[in-house]
Symmetry: C2
Subunit: 123 residues, 2 copies
């Protein structure tokens, strides 16, 4: 079950990054950060047909970035802030690793320097 969770996280990241890789989809997300909106409201500013915009919404919803609920004939979409934290966690994990590495490198260089005081074998 641990392996499954890891694989799911990989697939989640695939879907999240893929979803945000399209400018039209980011535009939808940007609009939704200001508050919920109906499908046609989201589609109106986009330079494409309404079905195309719907497909983008489908991608965003599949990625978990957007959720929506239909009442009457209008579907209202809103943003899912929690989804972003998956991306941020991934980035932060990378940063933690390379900063740790740079720390070790710094310490190593400092060690060389102080050893050099008594050694004198530098160029």
């Amino acid at each position: 079950m641990l392996l499954k969770r890891m694989l799911n996280q990989v697939a989640d990241l695939d879907r999240l990054f893929q979803a945000l890789a399209d400018p039209a989809r980011r535009a939808i997300v940007e609009r939704l950060t200001f508050g919920p909106a109906a499908v046609s409201e989201l589609a109106r500013p986009l330079p494409m047909s309404l079905p195309a915009a719907m497909q983008h919404l489908g991608v965003l919803e599949a990625a978990g970035l957007v959720r929506s609920k239909k009442v009457g004939r209008v579907r209202t979409c809103s943003i899912e802030p929690a989804a972003f934290s998956v991306i941020e966690q991934w980035i932060n994990a990378r940063r933690a690793e390379w900063e740790q590495r740079l720390d070790r490198l710094g310490n190593y260089l400092k060690t060389l320097e102080s050893e050099g005081d008594g050694d004198g074998s530098g160029t």
Copy 2:
């Protein structure tokens, strides 16, 4: 020149998210957070041919996530930490907007509540 900058940033985000949307490319990035590596070293764990891995590296480099330098016959790749901040800035901008919105919503609800004390026109 301001418009151009904005358009470039859109294209940058396209390339960044697109680059990270592939598990093989994320695997390369994850490997590089531990330190620089040669092309073949990066390709070895990937379930694909070396030219395929090279193409992934090309995508990462075009996105600015990786830089590389060839010395002799070996090209050494390393990560470009600054590239991640473009993504983080975009996410943080979204977060700033929706948090601001939620604050306004909270204040509004509090206002309703305190007005209700003297008004009594609730349901």
